[in-house]
């Protein structure tokens, strides 16, 4: 009986441990993303493209330009998106309009940091945008990290969209 009570009591205890940290530097992320040194490019936005990004991020986005790294047809984007209270820094590598890598560079909150593990991140590999400009793959969530998962999905969508815009800008007459 005491063991049963203990088991029930354990069900009510929420394990909570510090998940804050810098898990990958920007330099390491860029070095991993490209086999040769990329150039830092600038993506200038107009009203239409900014509205598309606002829809992807589901919030207001005011900047006129976004900087990114590029070599050939591969681009790397480092974006910040708030999960619950603080921004999560996420790096996304895109090639041929598909995500080839996604990394949580820095996580600043005390819970929800499970999004940095490969088991979650690997779901984004090969994800692209469908006709409705949303991710083509279903991403399984993580219990207790709902807002962080949502933030990562928004960043992935925004990165794919930015890559699309950057490529369109380059190929348009």
């Amino acid at each position: 009986m005491p063991s049963r009570i203990l088991l029930v009591a354990l069900c009510f205890v929420s394990a909570s441990w510090a998940q804050i940290g810098v898990f990958q530097s920007v330099d390491d992320f860029i070095n991993e993303a490209f086999t040769e040194t990329p150039s830092i490019e600038t993506l200038w936005l107009n009203n239409e493209t900014r509205e598309q990004i606002e829809r992807a991020l589901n919030r207001s986005f005011q900047a006129l330009r976004i900087r990114y790294w590029r070599h050939g047809g591969r681009t790397a984007w480092i974006l910040h998106e708030t999960g619950k209270e603080l921004p999560i820094t996420v790096g996304v590598v895109v090639e041929n309009n598909k995500i080839v890598a996604l990394s949580v560079l820095e996580y600043r909150e005390s819970r929800g940091g499970e999004v940095r593990y490969p088991l979650f991140r690997d779901q984004f590999f090969d994800a692209e945008l469908n006709n409705d400009q949303v991710l083509s793959k279903h991403i399984h969530g993580i219990t207790g990290a709902t807002l962080s998962v949502s933030a990562i999905k928004r960043v992935a969508t925004a990165a794919l969209l930015c890559h699309q815009i950057a490529v369109d800008v380059e190929t348009s007459p």
Binding site: T42, Q62, L147
Partner: protein, 239 residues
Amino acid sequence: MRSAGSVRGPLLRKFHRIVGMTASIFLLWICVSGILLNHTSFLELARKPLPAFLTAWIYPDAIIRESNVHTSIGIFRQHGQTISLDDVVIGLCADSLTGAAEYGGELWIACSHQLHIFTLDGTLVESQDSTLGLPAPVEKVGLCGQVLCVRSGIVDHQFLAHSGIWEHAPEGIQPEELAIRKQPAISSEFGSTATWERLILEAHSGRIAGKTGESFINLASVFALLLTISGVWISLRQS
């Protein structure tokens, strides 16, 4: 003499009734909040900030900071996350305001860990941070010759506009050279973390009341399970 079965029946129904009454309020809230969270995109809950009084009450950690930067052209004031120049709002800082400069036809507002760049008519152009090599904390911003510089510790860094990166500066930083005209008020939205989505999600999970709230919701879930079991049991007995 009553049989065990005839005693258990009323007891079971009483147990079912008590558990149901006790858990009903929690279960009702979980159901309503769950439905709202299922349609958070449609209802745009993540885009709707809470009213100021709710934010101040529930999320006081939307920290109110106040600091001033006195310059030759005026006083930059920081209140909370809002930055204003002579009472005209010009931008936001997530942490401490450290200075400002005009460079390349743009207005550069320095916070400890960010630089916000505005056009001279008040449109946000870009926000920079350590992602592009901005050193932190930024203690001072000004000009190194013709190039924008920031000081972090004892080291000066200059911004190379053509390459978009920060490098060590060869010359010393000059005192703030601010040739900034007063800008019209910027009514841009930077978003808020105190949104309805966050409030409903935290209330749904009980986290809004900390560990105690989480335990209450866990208990309500257990009650729902007991309600289900007792309900099925009563049904089977009646059939």
